[in-house]
Amino acid sequence: MQQWYPDFFDRFGTLTVFDLLEDYLASGRIKVDKTAHPQRALYHDPCNYGRKSRELFGRGYFDQPRRVMDQCLAEWTDSQPSRGNQYCCGGGGGTLLTPFKAPRIHYGRRKIDQIKQARAELVVVPCHSCHGQIKALLAAYEVKGVEVKYLWEVVADALIVES
C-alpha cells in the first residue's frame, strides 16, 4: 500500500500485524505465557507474506513471525522446506471461493505430508486463506488431532491477563 499510495500513507503510515505484535511484545505492552500451548506446533509461511511479498516489495516476512512464535511457544518446529521455499497450501488466489475444490485439495497434499512428518498437533498460520485451506485439507485427508490457529490467536491465547 505504501508503495502504491505513497502520498496518502505519508500521513498515516502503515504497519503489518507482525510489526504490531513484535512491537507489543518487545515493549512489554503485552506479556505471554509460553506454557499455554503444550502441543507440538508447526509454523506455515503463507505465499503472500513470504515469496510474493519478497518479489513485489523486496521484503518477505519470514523471521518476524518466527520470533513471535519463539515468544509464545516453548517448543515449535519449522517445516522442511520453509521460508521462501515453503510449500504452498493450495488455497490462495481465491480458490477457496471457486468450485475447484478437488484440484486444490490435490495441490495441498504436500502440506499434509509436512504436517504428518512433523507430527504436528497445532498448525500456526497468519493467513486467512491458508487457515481455511488447511482445515479443509485436514478434513479431506482425514487427519485427526490437529488444530489450526492464526498467529494472533496464538498470541491471544497465550496472553497473561492481569485481573
Binding site: Q80, P81, R83, N85, Q117
Partner: protein, 970 residues
C-alpha cells in the same frame, strides 16, 4: 616443501597464486621454460578440487599426473600430485596467501602471510599418534562432510604429514605429548614472508562447487541420503568414507536406486543464478555409469535434467554409452524431495514423457552441483605486473583450466620478454654431467645417511648395521640432518621417513652440496617401516649404488625451428607467439590467403585482433609464410623433424624443425535436409547470422514475421555424432539481434538440448524474456519442412502440449555445425591419431589438451574439435607454450629414466616399436638399428620388457637392479 636448486638463481622468479589445476599447470609450464616459481597455496595441500575426484570423464580415471613434465624429468619427482609437487625450480608455500604486491614488474615485492603447519615435515614419519590423541573432531570437508576429522589431520589422504587446523585446535597439547618424534610445534603463528625481486605474479582462479546447503527444497542437510555430487564422488572413491563401496550415509545400506537432480544452484533465477554450472551434466553421466558398473545389473540410475549439456567433442558418444548401459535420462526438472514413508528412502515426483505425474522412490539422491563463479579478486590483483587468468569469473572445467594456464603463461612470457629483452626462456640447466674417469675408477664406498626422521623410527639400527657388515661392500653409516661439506664415501644413500617423493626431491640439493654426481645418490623412504622391511628397502639400494656406473645417455642435437600447419586464426596466433619468442617459424597454408574462416567469427574485437595478427605474421622477420603449399612428408624423432614441403605447387623445400603445430581448421557444414536449397530463405545458421550482421541485408530491411531455427541439423547422430558446441550460442545471439531490430518478429527455436553452457545461459534467459519460443524435439521425431508455393511450413511436435505443431516461417535457419577440414593422411604424416569424426585426437582431453600422442606435435583450434573463437586463440597460445618447452635448446639431455639401445645386441625385431605407448621407438634406417626418441621416451620400460635380450635397457632401474631387489626380498 622443496627448495630450489641454487644454480638456477639467475632465472627470473614468478609468483603463482593458487595451486589448483590452473596454478599447478602454470607453475610447471614456467619451470619447464627455465623460470623459477614460487607457488603459493592457501590450502594446506595442492591440487584443489581435483584431489577429491578420482574419476574424470571421458575415460573415467584420474590423470592429474599427466601434467607432470615429460622432458627434463630429473628436474622434479614424478608422483601423484595429491602427494605434493616437487620440482627443482618450484618452491611451494602452503597455508599461505598473498597480502600485498608492491614495486614494479621485474622487481616486485610480494608479501605473503603463511600459517605455521604445526608439524615439522622433516621430523614426522606419519605414525598418526597425534591424530589418535586429539580430542577435537569436526566434519571432514575433503569427504564432503560424510566423515569426521580431528584438528590435526591429513589434508589429503595420500599425504603422510599431518597439519593442524588452528581454527579447530584447542591447544590442549595432547598431540605434542603423543608424538614420538617431537615433530609438533603448537604455535599458530602466522609469519610474513617478503618475496623480493619477483618478476611477475600470476593469479589463478579458484574452483568452488556450489554448496547446496541453502537449497532446502531438496532437503539437503535435513533429509538423510541426499548428497551433493562431490559427496557422491567421495563415496565412489576408494579413499573415501566407505572405501569405494556404494553405501548410503544414513544406514550404510548398499545402494541400488539412485536419482540425480540436475541444475542445483544454477539455472535458477529465484536464487539469482543466471548461469549454467557447466560440468554437472557430464559429471552426472559419469557418476551414473560408474555406479552402474559398481553395483551391477540391479542398479537403477536415473538422471532428471532440463538440457543434457554434452557439448564437448566426444561427449555425445559418452552420453550414448551411458544410455546404452541402461541409465535412464528423464527430461523433467524435479521440484523437491520428500521422505518416502517412515524409512530413509526418498520420494520425488516428475512428469514422464506422456505428461503423467509419477512418484518414484529412491535409495539415494545426488544433487548435481557444479561450478560456482568466483566473485571477487583481491586488491593486489590490480597492481601492475599481476596477471589474472580470468578477468571475469569464468566457469571452467579441467581442460579449460589447463588451456587458460597455457595462455596465461604465454602472456607472462611476453611480459618477461618486454621487461628483459635478452631473457628469452632459458635453456634448462643440465643436471646430468659426465663423471670423470678417475672418479669412476674408485672403489665404491657407500655412505648410508640416516636422517632424523628415520633415526627415531621403530627400526633396530644395530641389526641393520650388522647385516650391512655382512655384505661384501664398503659401507659406512652416519646420522646426518643436512648435506655435509665432506663425505668419506663416493656413493650416498639417504634414508628418511618422508614419502618416497619427498625423499627423491632431496637428491638435487644434496648432490649439489656434496659435489657427488647425481647418479651416485639414492634415497629410500622408511615411511612406516619396521626393521625387517627397512632392510628390504635398504639392501637393494646399497647393491644398486654399488654397481651404479656412468649413465650412458648422450646429449642429442635439436632443431629449434617450428612448423605451423594452417594459416587460420589458430595457426596465425600460434605462429606469431612462437616467432615473438625468438623461434624461426614456418607457416604452411593450403589456400592462397591467410585468415582461414575468420569470416565466421562474429566478435568484431576478435576479428580485428586476428587481422592484426595476420599482418604481424606477414611482416615478422622470424616467420616464413608459404601460401598455396602443403606437406609431402615428415620424418624424424621429436625435436628433429625434417619436413618436405610442396611450395606454391611447383617447388619443394625442406624444413628442419623441433616442433609442429597442427592448426588445419574447420568449416561450417552444409546440409541437404530440412528443405535446404529449395527456398532462398532456408539457410544454414551461419548465413543467417552473417545476414543479421550485415546492415543492408534483406532480413534487416524487412522485418520478418516468423523466424524458425532448427538446431542439431545432421549433428549428434551418425555419421556426425558430436555436438558442434557453437550453434546454440550463435543461434540465440542471432535471435536476440533480430529481436533488437524487429521486436515484433516471432522467433521459434526447435532444439534437442540447448547447449548454452556456463555464462551463456544468460542468453537463454534473455531470449525467453523476449518471448522467443523454444520447442524441444526428439531425434526420433524430427521436424518436417514443407516448401510449396514459396511458403515454408515446419511441422513439429511439442512434447509439453503433447500436440503436433505447424509453423509457418518466412525464414528458416538450420544449425549445421562445423566439420574438420579434411587433410589427406594427416595422421600418417605426423604420427597422430584421429577421432572417429576426423578431428585430431589430443594426448589427454583434460590434462594435455593441446598435445597429441606424439611428442613434438601439438594441435589447436577446430582441427582439435569444435570451439568458439576465444577458446581457439587461447588453445593456440597454449600449444605455442607446449612447443616452446621443446624448442630453444641446442641439445637435449635425456632424463635418467630413458630407454637406451645397445646396438650390437639388437636383432631388429621391432618388438620395442610395437610395445612403446609414446611412439618413442623407431628404426634408424641409416644406421640399421632401432633407436630411441629421447624426447618422447618416458622411461616406462615397456620396450625393455618386450626386448628379450636387453638390447634395450633403462638406466633406472636396470635388470640387475631388479634382480638385486628380488634377491633381498627372497
Amino acid at each position: 616443501m622443496s627448495t630450489p636448486n641454487a644454480t638456477a638463481a639467475q632465472s627470473p622468479a614468478i609468483a603463482v597464486a593458487g595451486a589448483g589445476i590452473t596454478g599447478i599447470h602454470s607453475a610447471l609450464a614456467l619451470a619447464e621454460l627455465g623460470y623459477r616459481v614460487k607457488l603459493i597455496q592457501q590450502a594446506p595441500a595442492v591440487g584443489g578440487l581435483l584431489t577429491q575426484l578420482d574419476h574424470q570423464f571421458p575415460n573415467n580415471h584420474c590423470g592429474m599426473c599427466r601434467m607432470l613434465p615429460l622432458l627434463d624429468r630429473d628436474d622434479g619427482v614424478q608422483t601423484c600430485l595429491r602427494r605434493g609437487i616437487y620440482h627443482d625450480r618450484i618452491e611451494l608455500l602452503t597455508a599461505a596467501r598473498i597480502e600485498a604486491v608492491a614495486g614494479s614488474p621485474g622487481r616486485l615485492c610480494v608479501t605473503v602471510r603463511q600459517t605455521a603447519p604445526g608439524v615439522q615435515p622433516e621430523r614426522c614419519d606419519g605414525c598418526g599418534a597425534c591424530e589418535a590423541a586429539c580430542p577435537v573432531s569436526g566434519p571432514d570437508d575433503f569427504n564432503a562432510g560424510l566423515t569426521r576429522r580431528k584438528a590435526i589431520y591429513k589434508p589429503v589422504p595420500h599425504q603422510t604429514v599431518r597439519v593442524i587446523d588452528w581454527q579447530a585446535c584447542t591447544a590442549c597439547g595432547a598431540c605434542a605429548e603423543a608424538c614420538p618424534r617431537d615433530a609438533i610445534q603448537l604455535e599458530p603463528q602466522a609469519h610474513t614472508i617478503d618475496l623480493k625481486n619477483i618478476a611477475l605474479v600470476v593469479q589463478t582462479g579458484g574452483a568452488r562447487l556450489y554448496d547446496p546447503g541453502t537449497t532446502d527444497l531438496y532437503g539437503y542437510g535435513s533429509l538423510p541420503n541426499v548428497v551433493s555430487a562431490l559427496a557422491f564422488e567421495r563415496i565412489l572413491s576408494s579413499s573415501g568414507p566407505y572405501q569405494g563401496r556404494l553405501l548410503r550415509p544414513s544406514d550404510r545400506k548398499a545402494v541400488q536406486k539412485i536419482a540425480w537432480i540436475q541444475c542445483v544452484g544454477s539455472r535458477n533465477l529465484t536464487i539469482g543464478a543466471d548461469h549454467c554450472a557447466r560440468i554437472c551434466c557430464m559429471v552426472a553421466l559419469k557418476e551414473a555409469l560408474l555406479a552402474q558398473r559398481k553395483i551391477g545389473p540391479d542398479t537403477s540410475a536415473t538422471i532428471f535434467y532440463m538440457d543434457l549439456r554434452t557439448f564437448g567433442r566426444d561427449y555425445q558418444r559418452y552420453r550414448d554409452r551411458v544410455e546404452a548401459a541402461g541409465v535412464r535420462l528423464v527430461r523433467c526438472r524435479v521440484h523437491s524431495l520428500q521422505p518416502a514413508g517412515a524409512g530413509d528412502d526418498l520420494m520425488l515426483s516428475y512428469l514422464d514423457a506422456d505428461g503423467n505425474l509419477q512418484d518414484e522412490v529412491f535409495d539415494l539422491v545426488v544433487l548435481s552441483t557444479g561450478m560456482q563463479p568466483e566473485q571477487h579478486h583481491a586488491d593486489w590483483t590490480t597492481h601492475e605486473g599481476v596477471l589474472v587468468v580470468d578477468k571475469h569469473p569464468e566457469l571452467k572445467d579441467a581442460a579449460d583450466s589447463v588451456i587458460a594456464a597455457g595462455a596465461t603463461v604465454a602472456r607472462a612470457v611476453k611480459r618477461l620478454r618486454d621487461l628483459h629483452p635478452q631473457s628469452l626462456p632459458h635453456q634448462p640447466i643440465e643436471k646430468i654431467k659426465e663423471i670423470p674417469e678417475d672418479v669412476l675408477k674408485q672403489r665404491p664406498v657407500v655412505c648410508l645417511a640416516v636422517m632424523p626422521s628415520a633415526a627415531g623410527a621403530p627400526i633396530d639400527w644395530d641389526t641393520i648395521a650388522n647385516r650391512l657388515g655382512s655384505l661384501p661392500f664398503n659401507i659406512v653409516m652416519e646420522q646426518l640432518e643436512s648435506p655435509p661439506d665432506s663425505l668419506a664415501a663416493n656413493r650416498l644413500l639417504l634414508a628418511g621417513s618422508q614419502t618416497p617423493a619427498a625423499m627423491s626431491a632431496l637428491i638435487g640439493p644434496w648432490a649439489d652440496t656434496t659435489g657427488l654426481p647425481r647418479a651416485f645418490l639414492e634415497t629410500v623412504s622408511l615411511d612406516g617401516a619396521t626393521t625387517e622391511n627397512a632392510w628390504q628397502r635398504l639392501g637393494p639400494a646399497i647393491h644398486r649404488l654399488h654397481q651404479r656406473s656412468q649413465p650412458a645417455q648422450h646429449r642429442q642435437a635439436m632443431y629449434d625451428g617450428a612448423l605451423v600447419i594452417g594459416g587460420g586464426p589458430a595457426g596465425l596466433t600460434a605462429a606469431l607467439t612462437l616467432a615473438t619468442n625468438g623461434i624461426a617459424t614456418t607457416l604452411v597454408e593450403k589456400s592462397d590467403r591467410l585468415g582461414g574462416r575468420t569470416d565466421q567469427i562474429r566478435d568484431l574485437r576478435l576479428r580485428d585482433r586476428i587481422a592484426r595478427t595476420a599482418d604481424a605474421v606477414r611482416n615478422h622477420p622470424a616467420l616464413t609464410v608459404h601460401l598455396n603449399s602443403d606437406v609431402i612428408h615428415c620424418r624424424g624423432p621429436a625435436g628433429r623433424f625434417i619436413t618436405q614441403l610442396r611450395v606454391g605447387r611447383k617447388t619443394q623445400c625442406a624444413v628442419f624443425h623441433g616442433a609442429t603445430i597442427l592448426a588445419t581448421g574447420g568449416h561450417p557444414a552444409l546440409t541437404e535436409n530440412y528443405g535446404a536449397g529449395r527456398h532462398e530463405r532456408i539457410v544454414p545458421l551461419h548465413e543467417l547470422t552473417a545476414a543479421v550482421d550485415a546492415p543492408d541485408s534483406q532480413i534487416n530491411r524487412q522485418a520478418p514475421q516468423h523466424v524458425v531455427m532448427i538446431q542439431c541439423v545432421d549433428s549428434r547422430e551418425e555419421p556426425n555424432n558430436f555436438c558442434s558446441r557453437i550453434c546454440c550460442i550463435k543461434a540465440l545471439n542471432t535471435a536476440l539481434k533480430i529481436k533488437q531490430r524487429h521486436p515484433a518478429t516471432d522467433i521459434t527455436v526447435l532444439y534437442r538440448d540447448l547447449m548454452t553452457y556456463g555464462r551463456h545461459e544468460a542468453l537463454y534467459t534473455e531470449a525467453r524474456r523476449r518471448a522467443v519460443r523454444f520447442i524441444p524435439y526428439d531425434p526420433a521425431r524430427k521436424p518436417q519442412v514443407i516448401v510449396d508455393d514459396h511458403a515454408i511450413t515446419i511441422k513439429g511436435y511439442d512434447p509439453l502440449l503433447a500436440e503436433p505443431v505447424s509453423l509457418t516461417a518466412d525464414w528458416l535457419s538450420l544449425a549445421t555445425g562445423v566439420r574438420p577440414n579434411p587433410v589427406d593422411s594427416l595422421d600418417a604424416l605426423f604420427g597422430v591419431t584421429m577421432t572417429a569424426d576426423g578431428f585430431v585426437r589430443e594426448a589427454d582431453s583434460k590434462w594435455r589438451p593441446v598435445d597429441t600422442g606424439r611428442e613434438g606435435v601439438f594441435v589447436c583450434g577446430l582441427a582439435r574439435g569444435p570451439a568458439r573463437a576465444g577458446d581457439t586463440l587461447r588453445q593456440a597460445d597454449a600449444a605455442a607454450m607446449r612447443a616452446l618447452r621443446l624448442l630453444r635448446r641446442k641439445t637435449l639431455q635425456p632424463s635418467t629414466a630413458t630407454a637406451r639401445l645397445r646396438p650390437a645386441l639388437c636383432s631388429l625385431c621391432a618388438s620395442c616399436v610395437a610395445a612403446c605407448p609414446h611412439q618413442a621407438r623407431y628404426l634408424d634406417a641409416e644406421n640399421r638399428h632401432m633407436a630411441v626418441d629421447a624426447a618422447a621416451c618416458q622411461g616406462c620400460g615397456a620396450c625393455v620388457a618386450a626386448c628379450p635380450n636387453n638390447a634395450t635397457v633403462l638406466d633406472g632401474p636396470t635388470a640387475t637392479d631388479i634382480m638385486a631387489d628380488l634377491e633381498t626380498a627372497l
